[in-house]
Amino acid sequence: MGREILLGDEAVALGAVHAGLSAGYSYPGTPASEIMEFLARLSAERPDLQAAWSVNEKVAYEEALGASYAGKRAMVSFKHVGLNVAADPFMNSALTGANGGLLVVSADDPGMHSSQNEQDSRYYVQFAKIFGYEPADHQEAYDMAREAFDVSERFNVPVLMRLVTRLSHSRSSVETREPRPQNALRAGERRDWTLLPVNARRRFGLLLDRQPELTRFSDQSPFNILSLNDKDRSLGVIASGVGYNYFREAWGPDRELPSYLKVSTYPLPEAKIRDLVGSVETVLVIEDGYPYIESRLKGLFGIAGKTVLGRLSGALPPSGELSPDSVRQALGLGPLPAMAMSGLPLAGRPPQLCAGCPHADTFKALTMALEDLAGAGVFSDIGCYTLGALPPYNAIHTCVCMGASVSMARGASDAGLRPAVSVIGDSTFAHSGITSLLSAAAADVDMTVLILDNATTAMTGGQPSFGSGERLMKIVEGVGVAREHIRTIEPLPKNHERNVAVIREELDHPGLSVIVAVRECIQESRKKRS
């Protein structure tokens, strides 16, 4: 078909489309957002391709699962912590199986460039007992996405593709192939999808029975490359995903390669691993994220007569993103000659709220309103406004997971903390704050919720928000917040005094209040003007 320049994320999306994808769903989150951005652009010219942002990852997963049950090929994509949100349908869909091929793309963020943790999605592949891919480069991302749907239909399981930030957000060229047509609607077996205990036990048995086949398929996959060096048996390398790139980069083209196994599919290709381990003395495992393969190899007791090195052993750093430099060192290669740093102390330049950002004015008003209330707890959430934790604002006290601010403020209020304040954006509120507010409203908890309505999902680049404007006001009223304690402010410098007064009034109210700070994201209003 041709060569295209694509982000790793986009290579997955295009591979899926060329595999006959009918429907894709997602909630924005770095580093996965560009998958749906790309699908949405394609879908604008392709009425047969549904590409939709969903209100959260669980909803997105279930939408994709519904499309799969209907017989169509479907994809759901999100960042790694999004899979936590979607874990309920994910785990159960391993039992129901897919009808049309179902690809789950989970983009991990080793190094936490834009995340709260660096959890490794490969554990979810094992947890659900399904099949998984871990591409090393853009071409594999495209090719594996294409293959994944066939595998999902052949083995009747969802297939998970694990990406990492470094591939998701790297650009390169990809050779594309002729697209495959979409599936027709196809009836399935409804008792397979109805997980009453009687059905669930039967389906779990089938899933367990399928495990040897999945392992055999993994062992035979050409994406897993085993190369044995019979002359030098001292070292063998097992490298997965982008770890393989760093191994090859560091080793260079001029020396004979040691024995190595490139791991790209899960369950682990056991026979190939045995061949590799059996033919070397020391095994170095290079994997980005958690020491998944290394800990599986070692188990509790290690391998008699072998040394296993990796992140657990200390040969590689236990956390953070791998780099060609850390892998060089683990391979026993010295650093390359390089220029020295200048010695000038370099002031850090952390991310910050944009000049003119409405959140800045909200934080100034909130901080002023809380000035004499030393014991206040300000529970916040995930979004641009999380930057309110940094100077000069120092305005918020928590960032845990999507929607947690509202529920945590309730718990703190129950515990006796006053005032208990929640600060949450409109998109995050729609994602996971509504049910928390419903719970707080039912008990009329003494707490104040600030919803920052900037009419977009700003941090990830301005995707649509489901809980903004008039709909947001109706939701707040609909879950049972007293009308006289639903207030709005416009966060602008000229309104500062009034905004402080409104916040103070509601902090004083001994029940639930919601203050909606309404002003459009400065980036979005700029985009519209230009």
């Binding site: 560009e34 470094r166 790139n245 083209p253 650093p335 944009c354």
Partner: protein, 192 residues
Amino acid sequence: MKQDIILAGVGGQGILSIAFVIDNAALAEGLFFKQAEVHGMAQRGGAVQSHMRISDRAIWSDLIPKGEADMILSVEPLEALRYLDYLRPDGIVVTSSTPYKNIPDYPDIGSVLDAVRKAPKAVVVDSERLAKEAGTVKAQNIVLLGAASGSLILKESGLKAMIETLFKGRGGAVLEANLKAFDLGRRAAADS
């Protein structure tokens, strides 16, 4: 033949536009390339960098190993200094002299530029002045691309063709200003 470049600057300064031009020019010349970029939280006014690799052979790592970079191309002088340890001992630094001061503890600009000039090969251009001269202060990134172009393994005509692709949708004046910004940057580097 290969060239590894660290692109540096502050979120919003248009580093990804430089990367777009280089990526596409490299592909047009039949070269391999990989380009790792930063999205998400750091883009909000923070330090950003992109690892740009071009080669006539397949490229393994998306990230440039320390000591492999042939060039640091920075739209901001302090940001150029952040990545010196990625540079080969004989590598080149191409940077703007215009500081972007969105932090309270920005060091003395004189000492920043002195530190830049300690690199064995340093090209420092006044991107703000040249971009204004070209017609838009927003074109500082393209001034820097022009300043670097003489040291790139890519053809000047190929880079300019991609600048046209990038800006043609934004009106003739914008395109013209960016092409001029490229030329002014290229000339300033040649004269330095």
